[in-house]
Amino acid sequence: MENFLQIKDLKHSYNSNSEVLKGIDMEVAKGEIISILGPSGCGKTTLLRIIAGLEKQSEGTVSIDNQMVADHLHYIPTEKRNVGLVVQERALFPHLTNIKNVKFGIQGSDKDKASTALDFLKLFKVEKYADNFPHEISSGEQQRVALARAMAPNPKILLMDEPFGALDKELKLELRKETKKILKDNGITSIIVSHDIDDASAMSDRVLIVKNGIIVQNGSPKEVVSINSNISLKNS
């Protein structure tokens, strides 16, 4: 399968003393969903931020869809990378209604934007809250709006940082299942960062485990779960 996202020898440090990423090599195929698992502080969120363009790597290269987006010569900023981003705290714009949140990143005429936004709200079953403000709906519904907002502009790749982290168990199971179906139906290449092995195995085609800034495992959820069944990833 063709590599859609390619990362080579990626290193990153915030100051001269501590290297957060110590040489990451990874590939993601088009339409593939992968999870990056690891304990707090292992560098998984930094990796996601570098792919998004929110952080500039110290060394190494990142290419998306055969386009070099970050190496020692090039740096394409986030706003020009066409990536979707979903974060744990949802970060919905509190001054905009839910439909306006989803419309925010869509290009085109006002009419087209409104119709696309409504379609995505429908996809995530929150169309009845279109004219409500984010604070007027539950956290699960907010996360649905956040997912709809990230997918509506048709990003090349969807990046999710602990997307189900703040939800209760029942809601998490439901949203996980629905989100996976939507991602697969639409063939959206996705990377999920999590510390929850259940989230990772339920959602992904492949799981990478990062520890101390390097990838220590790379395999199917089944393989990874069997090896790590007795290991807590929350803190190591």
Binding site: G53, P77, T78, H95
Partner: protein
């Protein structure tokens, strides 16, 4: 739009706004005239001593009033406590020069207070009950009762955050209530008190209106006289540089204390304070202790000014007053808008580019609030004269000196800290993840600012506007020097009337300044209410 705009703009603005101060300081390396030798030999010691006495006297008074009242309203329940909590900030609305004018009107030989005593006790005109106030003691009282809220506010916030367990452990070690106060509570909040005190000292050293009215020779009156009396701007700048050096020392101490204060408040083991109920004479004493500063610093001047305005000058609402008030309003709104916009751009740049250098520049600019208005005025005037001589007249056929440009510049430098801290607090409430997501949705630079940040910072924008309006309306020395010819503001009118001893005419503009000065107090009161005491278990 070039992405570098967000890095370059703050640096350019910084250079423009720091220029007046650099110009003043550069005079230290210039030639020293005969006037300087005269000042040095005969007057400078007097300026230093008077300033020193003022600073010492005011410091002692504000410490007693500010810390004492803060301790009372934070730890005890007594008559009027709930009102005193916020009312003790009211004197903030009265600039020292207005209290000085009111004091002379009240306590001069034929002032309202002495007339009242004579009328009540049927005494002759030669009898004077109240002592003269136009001296250094009068000035100490004026500064103390208008500036103590600086110490009151920081002490109150720090006392609120003190944990009950620490104070209770003092009681178990055998301390009585007063010993707990001065051996435990006060030493623990010392950095906060020092920070507040430094602000009082800076305000005292910067004042021009009150010391000028009381004819006390200090640095500011000296600078003004050297410039306008001796027509020697160079020597005035050298004198201003000396004052600036003193002020810088206090700025440094204030910043250091503020950093320490942030760490000295209660940590995770916070346990809210339990209020003790005061009864009998203790209740009365606490009531008087809190009422007195409000009475002298706010009620008395407001009553006196209202009395003058309504009884002696019923036509105060005349054409001149209206045009002066409108001038002040337009000027303050324009300055507030520019200052707020500037602070927004700089704070946005800091966040957007996560640049520590910009952060440093911004924090350097916030020092402008401590630079005396008179010094700013001199620096700005000198800068504009230089620009006129070399560029603006020749190239644009434009004269900047004596225009509103200088005034705006001085106001912005003086008020930048108010706007910047407001936006800083506003930005703390917006998660950085919002920016990340917005950027992933192809929104950056101006779009990020206008579509996401500005709507979320509406309250900060408005608060900043109101704070700067109130600050600009009060500002006297910079306005006096930099205003265009025949352009009066409320502060300038007040000063001119008071200088001509036309106190009744000064009443209407003075009371307008006080009323506008209440705006930041209302904002402050709201902020204090939403802080930690809401959680207390009394």
């Amino acid at each position: 739009m070039n992405i570098n705009f967000w890095q370059i703009t703050p640096v350019v603005l910084f250079l423009i706004f720091i220029a007046p101060v650099i110009i003043v300081l550069s005079s230290l390396f210039g030639e020293y005239s005969d006037n300087w030798t005269h000042l040095y030999n005969y007057v400078l010691t007097g300026y230093i001593l008077n300033s020193l006495w003022l600073v010492i006297g005011v410091s002692i008074c504000v410490l007693v009033i500010g810390v004492g009242t803060a301790w009372l309203v934070t730890n005890y329940n007594f008559t009027g406590k709930n009102i005193f909590e916020w009312a003790l900030i009211l004197p903030f609305a009265v600039p020292p020069y207005i209290l000085a004018y009111t004091f002379t009107g009240l306590f001069d030989t034929f002032g309202t207070a002495n007339n009242l005593i004579r009328d009540i006790f049927f005494l002759g005109d030669d009898f004077t009950f109240f002592p003269k106030v136009r001296n250094i003691y009068g000035a100490i009282i004026v500064f103390s009762f208008t500036l103590y809220p600086y110490v009151y506010l920081v002490s109150r916030m720090a006392f609120i955050n003190q944990s009950r367990s620490i104070l209770e452990s003092g009681r178990t070690l055998g301390f009585n209530q007063f010993q707990v106060f001065y051996k435990l509570a006060v030493p623990m909040i010392r950095p906060a008190i020092v920070a507040g005190l430094m602000l009082v000292i800076m305000e005292t050293l910067s004042d021009f209106g009150a010391v000028d009215h009381f004819a006390i020779a200090t640095f500011t009156t000296g600078i003004f006289r050297t410039w306008y009396g001796m027509y020697d701007l160079e020597t005035a700048m050298q004198l201003a540089s000396l004052l600036l050096i003193f002020v810088t020392i206090f700025i440094f101490i204030e910043r250091r204390s503020r950093r320490k204060a942030a760490f000295s408040i209660a940590g995770s083991v916070y346990k809210p304070l339990k209020l003790s109920q005061l009864t009998g004479y203790k209740n009365l004493l606490a009531f008087i202790a809190c009422l007195l500063p409000i009475f002298i610093g706010f009620i008395l001047p407001v009553l006196e000014l209202s009395y003058w305005a309504l009884n002696y000058k019923l036509d105060f609402f005349n054409q001149k007053f209206i045009s002066t008030a409108l001038n002040t309003l337009y000027l303050s709104i324009a300055a507030a808008f520019l200052c707020t916009l500037l602070a927004l751009i700089i704070n946005f740049s800091i966040r957007y580019k996560t640049n520590n250098f910009l952060k440093f520049l911004s924090s350097f600019l916030t020092v402008g609030y401590a630079v005396p208005g008179l010094i700013l005025a001199i620096g700005v005037m000198r800068l504009l004269t230089f620009l006129d001589r070399n560029f603006t007249i020749e190239i644009f056929n434009l004269v900047l000196t004596g225009s509103l440009v200088g005034l705006m510049m001085a106001y912005i430098i003086k008020s930048y800290a108010l706007s910047s801290t407001t936006f800083d607090a506003g930005y703390e409430r917006i998660s950085p993840r919002i920016d990340d997501v917005a950027r992933s949705l192809k929104t950056s630079g101006w779009n990020l600012l206008s579509k996401v940040h500005v709507p979320l910072l509406k309250t900060s924008f408005l608060t900043s506007m109101l704070l700067v309006v109130a600050e600009v309306i009060k500002e006297l020395p910079a306005t006096l020097i930099l205003r265009p010819f025949n352009f009066d503001t409320l502060a300038v009118s007040t000063y001119i009337y008071a200088a001509e001893e036309r106190m009744y005419d000064a009443a209407a503009p003075s009371i307008s300044i006080v009323l506008v000065g209440l705006i930041p107090i209302i904002i402050l009161t709201r902020l204090i209410r939403t802080s930690r005491p809401a959680n207390r278990d009394n």
